[in-house]
């Protein structure tokens, strides 16, 4: 069963092609993540799916409704949380929630069980104006408002941008609970590490989808062997590995460098051999499984 079907959708603003021939399907009840940097076209795609923009080419359906012709039906079936904090700053937490409930023709009580877990965290601040909440609280309130009418599908455009790691974790836990209620959740994020919180992901860059699949499948398709390399002088190490004639890519990853080689049957001894010709102490080389960022960067440089 599909919740969203996108067929060859494109959208441009003047000369800028924001979304370039995107096709994919999102299944009912899954958490689907669009992952990519700013300017990848995530927001434009979300706005088309929420009927706010009309595509230049292609078509799409959400919950079986056409995004252009049946826009009214889609509007009462979806919950949408835009990228910016879009609630009324001069209304209190409770007033915002009441307002959105009324707009969707429901009440807080009717769907309270859906938002209960989130709302209990907000309740102590229910008389505070939304503009005075902290980043994490605003995000929770926005999610409550998007959920209040018990939508079949939830579109969350960069809900965790600019939010600290702890609040981000909490937010993803909430999404996990909502998934159990059978709501399809479509999320976009620039944080690659959030890929492992999604069922399936689409990697987006410059308006195009580079890959759509389960995270583990994308990782298994990484074409080369990957090594984590460390030494005492990381900055020098980075430059020296880049100068190595067989180097395919060298990127810093936290406390190590991720190195991929252009040779098929490379072993860590090959690399060690090269590094031994240089002046390094405490060299450690380990073959590792690539993570989502390795895959993304590899796809980007194609």
């Amino acid at each position: 069963m599909n919740s969203v079907i996108i067929e060859n959708i494109s959208k441009s603003y003047g000369d800028v092609l924001a979304v370039d021939d995107v096709s994919l399907t999102i299944e009912k009840g899954e958490i689907f993540g669009f992952i990519g940097p700013d300017g990848a076209g995530k927001t434009s795609l979300f706005r088309m799916l929420t009927t706010l923009l009309i595509p230049d080419k292609g078509n799409a359906t959400v919950e079986g409704f056409d995004i252009v012709k049946d826009y009214k039906k889609i509007r009462s079936a979806v919950g949408y949380m835009p990228g910016r904090f879009s609630l009324y700053q001069d209304l209190t937490v409770e007033e915002n929630l009441h307002f959105f409930a009324a707009v969707f023709g429901t009440t807080i009580q009717e769907n309270y069980n859906l938002i209960k877990d989130i709302y209990v965290m907000l309740e102590p601040f229910k008389n505070r104006k939304a503009g005075k909440l902290s980043g994490g609280m605003k995000q929770k309130l926005a999610l409550c408002c998007a959920l209040i009418h018990k939508p079949k599908i939830l579109f969350l455009d960069e809900p965790t941008t600019g939010v600290d790691p702890v609040s981000r974790n909490e937010f993803w836990d909430m999404l996990g609970n909502l998934r159990k209620e059978g709501i399809t959740i479509v999320v976009s994020t620039p944080y690659m590490d959030e890929a492992n919180k999604c069922d399936r992901i689409a990697l987006m860059q410059k308006g195009k989808i580079m890959e759509t699949d389960y995270l583990k499948n994308i990782i298994s398709r990484f074409p080369r062997k990957l090594f984590a390399v460390k030494s005492d002088g990381m900055f020098v190490l980075l430059n020296e590995l880049r100068e190595y004639q067989f180097a395919n890519s060298v990127f810093s990853f936290g406390d190590s460098l991720h190195y991929s080689d252009s040779r098929e049957n490379v072993t860590k001894d090959n690399i060690l051999e090269y590094l031994n010709t240089k002046n390094h102490g405490n060299i450690s080389i380990e073959e590792i499984e690539p993570n989502i960022e390795d895959c993304f960067m590899d796809l980007m440089s194609k």
Partner: protein, 243 residues
């Protein structure tokens, strides 16, 4: 205070009415160090950074930045630091060279120096094709790299970076850090906030703020040992949740 540190803060405090945004923080940063300044939203990072940049007068405590007092010598501090953030970077409706000239100009660079710097930056960032294009037409990654270069155009002793890589693609993010490393290599002290925990690993030392206080301050390796964590993400979560 000794001259071995480029930033020194002692019991630095900032109160807004009854609310204590920064609660008696003390730390020091060595010249050329990359100092990571982490914390949850609302932990007081921005307030602390503003005080160090001379934009906000502390309520109590003392601090020097580049040898200047944050209470009395804010003008000298501003001349000796660079600042860049994700939100504020460059003017979208000016061209690349106009932006460089403008910022060079406000820091009083001479004409010949400005010209030399402009050519150097355009060459360094490989943007000679785009030199006369309006900034709005450039990709975000280029803009952020240019913004960083412009922030250190007057060769400041310290550069403050407030979430410099938000929303940037992973390759550009790393290129950005290459630039930070190079600046640090050349002796510039880098004071940086970020929400990407892998970037915390790139710092020489990391401080973690919780509720206006510095809860932890050490090298990434020591922090990982201390909190028995595999990476900085875990460290962050453990500290922010109070272990």
């Amino acid at each position: 205070m000794t001259n071995n540190y480029i930033i020194e803060a002692e019991n630095l405090t900032k109160k807004f009415g009854h609310f204590t945004a920064v609660d008696s923080i003390s730390f020091s940063v060595k010249p050329g160090e990359i100092f990571g300044f982490l914390g949850a939203n609302g932990a007081g990072k921005t307030t602390a950074m503003r005080m160090l940049c001379g934009l906000s007068i502390p309520s109590s405590g003392k601090a020097t930045v580049a040898g200047f007092d944050v209470f009395k010598q804010t003008e000298q501090i501003k001349k000796n630091i660079g600042y860049m953030s994700q939100k504020f970077s460059l003017y979208d409706d000016l061209t690349v060279t106009e932006n460089i000239n403008f910022y060079g100009g406000i820091y009083g660079l001479s004409k010949s120096k400005l010209k030399e710097k402009t050519e150097y930056l355009i060459d360094l960032l490989k943007i000679s094709d785009a030199r006369n294009k309006l900034l709005v037409s450039l990709p975000l990654g280029w803009k952020q790299k240019l913004a960083f270069s412009v922030a250190i155009i007057h060769e400041p002793k310290i550069v403050f970076l407030d979430e410099p890589t938000g929303g940037v693609d992973p390759i550009t993010r790393r290129q950005f850090w290459d630039m930070i490393y190079e600046a640090s290599h050349n002796g510039v002290t880098v004071f940086v906030t970020t929400h990407y925990m892998d970037e915390a690993e790139y710092c020489n030392r990391v401080s973690m703020m919780v509720d206006g206080r510095i809860a932890s301050l050490d090298t990434p390796d020591n922090l990982k040992k201390e909190y028995n964590a595999d990476n900085m993400h875990e460290v962050f979560v453990k500290i922010a949740r109070g272990k």
